[in-house]
Amino acid sequence: MFETALTWSDLAFLAQGAGMTLLVTAVSVTAGTVLGVIFGVIRFQVGPYWSIPLTFVLDVFRSVPLLIQLVLGNAFQSIARLGWPPFTTSCVILSLYTAAYCTEIVRGGISSVPVTTRRAARSLGMTWWQDMRYIVAPLATRVSLPSWIGLTLGVMKDSALVLWLGLIELLRASQILVTRLQEPLFILMICGAIYFILSFPVARLGGYLEKRWSPND
């Protein structure tokens, strides 16, 4: 029969790691999305020329590997004597990383709303803000949702890299158990299964919303 040295308290330890993964992801995706929406609207409003500086900074966050960003970010915060704990540093870097991708998703979503539809809204007397809130936001959200779900799932998996700053999230918790119990296959399978369980509802939520909105399109 199959035997393992894995105990219930080890599973609880993994669950704790999963909790950390969820927390880092939730904070980063939330903050990154808020920033991404703001940057996306700015990029769309000011046009490609005036948004060059913003685009450049965001391109840096999109092109430099996340691991390097985390290590450099951590080094920077200690040089600048910010005194951030690893959790804060991780969330800040991951949020900016998320924001960089989210900005493009938001910009694309806004561009997908036909100019003529927005003209119709404005010619009814709606302000820029009302047009954004009642016409552009709902339409752009529909277009952007699949990419945003993809980004969220990506960030959840990429968040494993914060283990390099010493945070014990799901992957690091699994590694610790592997080192102690020497059952890498079994433990990594559990680890993978937990990642799947975390991701699945997010993916399904996306599918559900798409389906709910589709009869209107």
């Binding site: 007397g125 016409i135 209107n216």
Partner: protein, 240 residues
């Protein structure tokens, strides 16, 4: 009263309006005809301030549309405009499409906005379609919805920019009937159109635009039966 005085407007090097003068009184129906690129549609978007003008003046009941301090959003609720493309808000039902601006712009309560929306939609013959999404309707129905949406703001003026040009020939009639009905109710209207028969029927005056200039303006009988300007004669000969 809409007063347009010596309005000029360019897109880059191309001057699309070369000094237009036109006064439309309350209750009057003016149709604008002319070839593509003659500036007809641009004039309409200048009247409600969607497009800035380079020089001249457009006033609506004495308010200068393009003056710095003018509250364009307030002004636009007085001037309804319907475009060639009906531009339905696809995420809202027909009823919600029509209710949105009265609620958000005029600040009406939900019941009151709904009452107005239902009334206007019934008026244009869409009482059966209240809870339908626009994409489930024909182009003609969507265009009539767009008209009801503009009317729900209780505008004093209506601008129609080639509202039947994108429609299936089968569906043109129902939209023109809606416009005829509005005209007969005394709505002040400027209609840019290619429907000559319709223009002759409903207009108090017909204006012919040619290359950014209003070449001729006259009563429909005068303009269609005895056009004075050589370009009007050419245009009418070509469209018959």
């Amino acid at each position: 009263m809409i007063e347009i005085e010596n309005v000029r407007k360019s897109f880059g090097a191309l001057e699309v309006l070369k000094g237009i003068d036109l006064t439309v009184s309350k209750g009057e129906v003016v149709t604008v005809i002319g070839g593509s690129g003659s500036g007809k549609s641009t004039l309409l978007t200048c009247i409600n301030g969607l497009e800035p003008i380079d020089s001249g003046r457009i006033t609506l009941d004495g308010t200068d549309v393009h003056a710095k301090g003018t509250d364009l959003n307030k002004l636009r609720s007085k001037v309804g405009i319907v475009f060639q493309q009906w531009n339905a808000f696809p995420h809202l039902t027909v009823l919600e499409n029509v209710m949105l601006a009265p609620r958000k712009v005029l600040g009406l309560a939900k019941d009151r906005a709904e009452e107005i929306a239902v009334k206007q939609l019934t008026h244009v013959g869409l009482a059966e379609k209240l809870s339908v999404y626009p994409n489930r309707m024909s182009g003609g129905q969507q265009q009539r919805m767009a008209i009801a949406r503009a009317l729900a703001m209780s505008p004093e003026y209506m601008l129609f920019d080639e509202v039947t040009s994108a429609l299936d020939p089968m569906l043109v009639g129902e939209v023109l009937d809606t416009l005829r009905m509005l005209a007969s109710e005394g709505m002040t209207m400027i209609c840019v159109t290619h429907e000559m028969k319709f223009a002759r029927e409903v207009s108090d005056r017909v204006a012919f635009f040619h290359q950014g200039v209003m070449a001729e303006i006259a009563s429909p009988e005068q303009l269609f039966d005895a056009p004075q300007h050589v370009e009007t004669q050419k245009f009418l000969a070509a469209t018959h």
